[in-house]
Amino acid sequence: MDLTTRYLGFELDHPLMAGASPMVDDLDQVRALEDAGSAAIAMHSLFEEQLAGEQISTHHSMESSSHMFAEAMTFMPDLPEFRLGPDEYLEQLRRIKEAVAVPVFASLNGTTLGGWLDYAKLMVDAGADALELNLYQVITDPTRSAAEIEAGHLEIVRTVASEVSVPVAVKLSPAYTSLPHFAAALEEAGASGLVLFNRFYQPDIDVEELEMERRLDLSTSGDLLLRVNWLGILSAQRSIPLAASGGVHTGIDAVKAVMAGASAVQMVSALLQRGPARLAEVRDELSAWLVEHEYESLEQMRGSMNLAHCPDPRAFERLNYVRLLMGWAPN
């Protein structure tokens, strides 16, 4: 079966690839992912905020105790190689590039325009074949409007895309008032692909200790539906390649994502739960399903169930919700 697809300018043998996860921190896992046939390796994000926070806190904890007492000028060994910049991430990126032949996508979450650009350039210099800009940001300031935030995001994408030589994908969250409008603007700003969607750490409440707990549960196939919904809408409107991210656990999940219009399908939770080899199984399931259902190619199926082609486009709109309500009845 011809599963080839084109994503971010890369001709891929099939659409399945490992999405952003801690697996990329371990080169053995990365090699296992490639062995399992991952069409590309997407790294987890480098968080500018975290880098800055670590630099500042480490700087303060080390500096505030130096030269303060006659007996000890410092309390830590002086190691010139001890750097708190992005080196660790970039070094891992370099190692992954050396270890695998498939394209490697580096991912970035910045806090300043300068940071977005500087780190993006460093990632490209370190060998990233493409970038994923992770626009995840929690806005708590009531004086900042959606338009203002979106304009800022577009500025980031425009700046980075114009300054780096590799394709730039944007990883989105689902919470936009008008995602199609923003997606169009992103494409115009130079984005070469969109990843739908980010999954968030969301605070949970420890009711005994009255503490907030941050947690990230692994996805289930149920999480895919939100992606299917928006893939279906956006793929009907734009030609920009889309990637599904979140909720693909089986071949059928992958089929759904592609039918909704995904050019690439990222997997994380399934691989964390069942190991890198799960990717090959899903690929085989996908291939088998296409054979069984007598498709000519993956491309034939792509977008077949999107807003433009599905039998009942209203399903993508509010009717979906309405019908569910109408379909429910107490015993």
Partner: protein, 1191 residues
């Protein structure tokens, strides 16, 4: 270091630079002030710097200086070029090996940052008492007087020892030279190769032990031959000084810097001459120049090679006209005819006269003088006084200079106003806090300016505290060589980086007329003048100072720099001092910021750049009025209520005027009163915790965890509230046993360091707004006075009767008065909460032996000390002997206490019928466990004393002296892991094996904290520490398991942040256990590299990850048929990585080498799991109890 370069380094680096490049093995042990030499060698080796022969030396840290000396001796014997660095007590520990090394005629140079040997007190500062204690070892003693000389003489010594086979001790003055930053010309590798004779190196190697040419060294010899064999080395000593002179000559030919065995500087026809060695000689040189310009006939002899002492060379440099000589020693040998250099000079002159050596016309008068003990300032005024004395017809002999000796009347009077520093020298003084970065910034500034002027010098004075230490930086710049080896007396620029200093220190005392004063103040230019004490205003007016102000803390906050104002104040200095053009200076500062932080923390660079720019916008010159304004005067240094001694002695020291105190002010034997920290109000915290009784659950954990006893709990009668200030907070005490009482948590606002451990520890949260806890931080300044009054009132409320506290758990223990308070420990210290708890539980009957280290410094460093007394005047008796012997020292306490108890019991037995059999029996058999029982015994002893007073019997008088010993004493041996795991381990092991009733508290920070983070055997696997910079490969030594192996030692491993009540169980059980007890206490430390407010959180992670299992091993449980080991923590629930990643000591490995980090994490994980499994198995083992009837 390939080419000769003009450089700016300190004396330690100057010496180490040569030692490193000319040796193959370096074995060290950290000791102030020599530690940086070893640390530099370690970090150079890590960088891969090479010796002059290629390759890098093997740098090893040993368990003590005795161990280092042994390793050095062995390495030398096996033929390697070997060196070491040490000082003070460390040097003393090397003496046995020094005799051997010299006796075996071994080429070897050791470098010593000379420091006082502890006598009536420990001192980390400089004098020659350590070096002089090695005179009989057979080492050559070569003295440097400056940073340049420390560099040059390190080379000359290395060259000379290889040729002469006499080992060398090369020394320079601790701190004054070891820590002075100065401009010097560096010796290139080629210079060193020129000086080091390769053939001599080969000869050294060929003397090394090898089975290919076996020899025997270290025989035992008998009366028939030892003496003769000992004399056989003499020709080498006879030749040694000549070889040194030759090497000095070769050195001069190569570098142009000329030295002699003795260097004379002064008038050719001098009549008065000073002889001395070390940095003081530079001050003499400078003063002699000044006097020569005024036509005085004076000179100075700088002794370079003190041993072997060349009489001919010495007398040769003395001008024929010399009429009087003052020999100055920087050491004291009580009871000797004179101090060592004096004795040698007198003997040398006598022998020279007899042998017709030298050029002297007559027979000069020779007097001895002593100066500079423990870095006492030795100024041109002192030199002037000595030379004046020499002009008298009968100059005073055995004088002292630099102090006022009103007891022995030995001191010379000194004109302290004498200022001889040339006008061309730019001089600046900076007052700062240790934590605000002032010293670091000044070191930076010197390097910037040092590139543009011929000569620069920086010297830094630190006070004795760790949290909130005052630092004073002294900077000189000149186009002429700077020989001023003393603090700046008059400065044209003075900066005060902390506004509160103007209240207690006379920061402008050294300001010259027309000078510049820079002040960091929370007030603008319009208001700041009026906010100054009138005394300071007057000084500014009188001295016509230009006055600049900046609110540096505001700028720092805006730029995200927190409390670090270093960059801001440095920028101000450059902006207004005019040492460099402003634009150029700003560019240089930015470049320095980039090179300091750029690689590690680019964000920090941006913040500091912003701070530089903001500084220039916020710096203002103050228009100084013609008259003082306002009524604000300097407050008294200590409160009026302070006792006489504190007023007359301590307060003077606190004001920075301790130098003025005369000999008569001091105890003759080093015995000081306790309870003095309470008089020093330091106001360090920007924010302090404030209690909310509505939220509080009365658990007392805030008080328990406070490192400074600065937040306290009290339970008291309602009536005690009478006269309470309006702001004083109080609530009903909730406890089943104590009804109708009131309860208060109160902060000591002026003693709190603002560490926030209490707030993080507090478990009580407001239900409606859990962010609000039962204690919350608030800015200190606005509520300082209110809380000060509340705290004063709080202290006045009587303490709860100890025997009324029902349970000595975490809560109950905090109702007992802490007898350890307001120490100088770091903010957030993890050690002091344990010590404080110890004093709460047992302080009124405790003797504490304290190993040298952090706990002896914050426990016993003047001016004020934290151990205090209760309302009955009882409290811990505390002493520090040494670093290495603390277990034995405390063991001695127990022996003495036991002897006195035995004597008292025996006397009481004999007097039983006279004092009453019932009372005697009650005392002799009285159970003394628990506060009610202790209180009952105290009452019985009081009754006994009353009876004894009425008895006319000599035994009654004897019993009166020792009756106090009838109360059970708690003997505590306290120290850090450096002591317990390393240097003192042999002694600790022996003491534990003796079965006597001593309690050992190991404050385990897992690293040498006091000397700056060197690894110990307590350092955990994976942690980066000095001498284990790549992360320690081996697991932490399991000290507890080793102690358990005796079977009769009580052992507990505790972590206050993780399980408070287990801590209390351990302390109470250790005290009640009649044999040896060992408590190993997890102590978070600034050397771990994170914000210590989260110290207790990290302790929880340490326990939950199995890194720090909690347990108690109580031999008493055996008799109950139970396993002696009780595990108090659960099996590991989280990975060790979760714990390790929070601390820079582990994290830096992850950043440098992630693979290695993962490997170390895996090894640490395995080690934690294995150890826990071992404990689990042990906790299941019951030990059979031998029954007597089975015998």
């Amino acid at each position: 270091m390939s080419k000769e370069a003009h450089n700016l380094i300190d004396g330690n680096e100057a010496a180490a630079s040569v030692a490193y490049r000319t040796n193959e093995v370096i074995a060290i042990y950290p000791i102030t002030p020599s530690s940086p030499m070893g640390e530099l060698a370690d970090s150079w080796a890590l960088e891969g710097r090479e010796t002059i022969w290629g390759g890098k030396p093997d740098v090893v840290e040993m368990q003590s200086e005795g161990g280092a000396a042994g390793a050095v001796h062995g390495s030398l014997q096996a033929g390697a070029l070997t060196t070491t660095f040490t000082a003070s007590q460390g040097l003393l520990l090397m003496i046995p090996n020094m005799f051997k090394i010299a006796g075996e005629l071994t080429s070897f140079v050791m470098h010593v940052a000379a420091r006082s040997v502890a006598t009536h007190a420990l001192s980390i500062f400089g004098d020659h008492s350590d070096v002089m204690a090695t005179r009989s070892t057979g080492f050559a003693l070569l003295a440097s007087g400056s940073v340049q000389e420390a560099h040059d003489f390190a080379c000359i010594a290395q060259a000379a020892t290889l040729r002469s086979r006499v080992p060398f001790l090369h020394f320079f003055d601790g701190f004054r030279t070891s820590h002075e930053l100065a401009t010097l010309d560096m010796l290139s590798d080629d210079d060193l190769r020129f000086m080091i004779d390769d053939e001599a190196v080969q000869r050294h190697r060929s003397r090394g032990l090898t089975p290919d040419r076996p020899v025997l060294r270290g025989t035992a010899q008998n009366p028939d031959v030892f003496f003769q064999a000992r004399e056989a080395c003499t020709p080498f000593y006879d030749a040694c000084s000549g070889i040194v002179a030759e090497e000095m000559k070769r050195f001069a030919e190569r570098t142009g810097r000329r030295y002699g065995l003795f260097d004379y500087h002064g008038a050719e026809d001098a009549e008065r001459v000073i002889v001395l060695m070390g940095s003081g000689a530079e001050t003499c040189h400078e003063t002699v120049d000044w006097l020569l310009a005024r036509g005085e006939k004076v000179g100075v002899v700088k002794v370079r090679l003190y041993r072997p002492f060349s009489i001919a060379d010495f007398v040769d440099v003395l001008p024929p006209t010399t009429r009087s000589i003052a020999v100055l020693d920087r050491t004291k040998e009580p009871g000797a005819v004179g101090d060592p250099l004096y004795l040698d000079v007198v003997s040398a002159l006598r022998e020279a006269r007899d042998d017709g050596l030298g050029r002297l016309n007559g027979d000069p008068v020779v007097v001895a003088g002593r100066y500079g003990l423990s870095s006492k300032e030795f100024t041109p005024a002192c030199v002037h006084a000595v030379l004046d004395e020499l002009g008298k017809s009968t100059p005073k002999n055995h004088f002292t200079v630099g102090i006022v000796d009103d007891v022995n009347h030995s001191s010379l009077s000194v004109d302290r106003g004498l200022d001889i520093e040339p006008e061309g020298v730019s001089r600046a003084i900076f007052y700062g806090l240790g934590s605000d970065g002032t010293v670091g910034a000044n070191k930076n500034s010197i390097k910037i300016i040092g590139k543009r002027v011929e000569h620069a010098q920086g010297y830094f004075v630190y006070d004795s505290k760790k949290a909130g230490a005052t630092t004073i930086s002294h900077l000189r710049f000149s186009d002429q060589p700077i020989r001023s080896s003393y603090l700046i007396g008059r400065a044209n620029f003075i900066a005060c980086h902390q506004f509160d200093f103007v209240d207690r220190l006379d920061v402008l005392a050294a300001a010259t007329e027309g000078g510049t004063f820079l002040l960091n103040a929370p007030f603008g230019p319009d208001r700041v003048f009026a906010e100054l004490p009138r005394e300071v205003q007057q000084e500014i007016i009188d001295k016509k100072l230009r006055f600049f102000v900046i609110d540096a803390y505001s700028v720092a906050r805006e730029c995200g720099l927190g409390g670090r104002i270093n960059t801001i104040m440095q920028t101000c200095y450059f902006a207004i001092s005019g040492v460099l053009p402003r634009e150029e200076a700003v560019a240089e500062i930015k470049q320095a910021i980039e090179s300091s932080y750029g690689k590690r923390s680019p964000v920090v660079v941006q913040q500091n750049f912003a701070a530089v720019d903001q500084t220039l916008a916020n710096l203002s010159e103050v228009a100084v009025p013609a008259e003082v304004v306002g009524e604000k005067a300097r407050p008294p240094i200590v409160a009026e209520a302070a006792p006489d001694f504190v007023q007359k002695v301590t307060a003077v020291m606190l004001a920075g005027r301790g130098d003025e105190l005369p000999v008569s002010a001091f105890p003759v034997d080093g015995t000081w009163p306790t309870a003095t920290a309470q008089w020093e109000k330091r106001n360090l915290a920007q924010d302090i915790p404030i209690w909310d009784p509505a939220v509080c659950i009365q658990c007392n954990q805030c008080a328990l965890v406070c490192p400074h006893a600065a937040i306290r709990a009290k339970v008291y009668d309602t009536g005690d509230l009478e006269g309470a200030p309006d702001a004083f907070q109080s609530t009903d005490y909730r406890a089943p046993g104590l009804k109708g009482l009131r309860y208060t948590i109160q902060v000591a606002p002026e003693d709190c360091t603002g560490c926030q451990l209490c707030v993080v520890m507090c478990p009580a949260k407001d239900k409606a707004s859990p962010r609000h806890k039962a204690i919350n931080m608030e800015p200190q300044r606005p509520i300082r006075e209110r809380e000060r009054q509340s705290y004063e009132f709080f202290l006045g409320i009587p303490e709860l009767d100890r025997s009324r506290v029902e349970r000595l758990d975490a809560k109950g223990s905090q109702l007992l008065q802490p007898l350890f308070e307001y120490s100088g420990a770091c903010a957030g210290c993890g050690e002091t909460p344990y010590i404080k708890l110890l004093t709460q539980l047992f302080g009124d009957r405790a003797l504490i032996a304290n190993a040298t280290g952090c706990s002896s410094i914050y426990g016993g460093n003047l001016p004020t000390t934290p151990y205090t007394v209760d309302a009955n005047g009882r409290g811990p008796a505390w002493s520090n002997s040494l670093f290495e012997d603390n277990a034995e020292f405390g063991f001695g306490f127990r022996l003495a206490v036991a002897a006195q108890t035995e004597l008292a019991r025996s006397l009481l037995g004999g007097l039983a019928s006279q004092v009453g059999d019932e009372l005697a029996r009650a005392i002799l058999d009285g159970e003394q466990h628990g506060e009610p029982a202790i209180a009952a015994q105290r009452e019985r002893i009081a009754a006994l004393r009353a009876k004894l007073a009425s008895l006319d019997d000599p035994d009654a008088r004897r019993l009166e002296h020792v009756a106090g010993a009838l109360l059970r004493k708690s003997v505590w041996i306290v120290g850090g892991d450096g002591w317990a795991y390393d240097i003192g381990y042999g002694g600790l092991d022996h003491v534990l094996a003796q079965g006597r009733d001593v309690n050992v508290l190991v404050l385990d920070t897992e690293v040498y904290s006091n000397t700056g983070g060197q690894q110990s055997k307590a350092t955990p696997l994976g942690a980066a520490a000095k001498f284990a910079a790549a992360g320690k490969e081996t697991p932490k030594k399991d000290l507890g398991l080793e102690a358990m192996s005796y079977g009769n030692v009580y052992v507990a491993r505790i972590a206050m942040g993780a399980k408070v009540n287990q801590v209390l169980h351990a302390f109470n059980e250790a005290d009640s256990y009649p044999g040896p007890a060992l408590i190993i206490a997890y102590s978070h430390c600034i050397a771990h590299g994170y914000d210590l407010r989260f110290g207790t959180e990290q302790q929880k992670l340490a326990v939950r990850s199995g890194t720090w299992p909690l347990y108690r091993f109580d031999p008493r449980r055996v008799e109950q048929g139970l396993p002696p080991l009780l595990l108090d923590s659960d099996p590991p629930k989280i990975g060790v990585k979760a714990y390790m990643r929070n601390e820079t000591r582990f994290r830096m490995i992850e950043k440098i080498d992630p693979k290695r980090f993962e490997r170390l994490v895996a090894a640490a994980q395995e080690s934690a799991e294995q150890r826990f499994a071992v404990y689990q198995q042990l906790a299941g083992i019951t030990v059979p109890v031998p029954r007597e009837d089975e015998e």
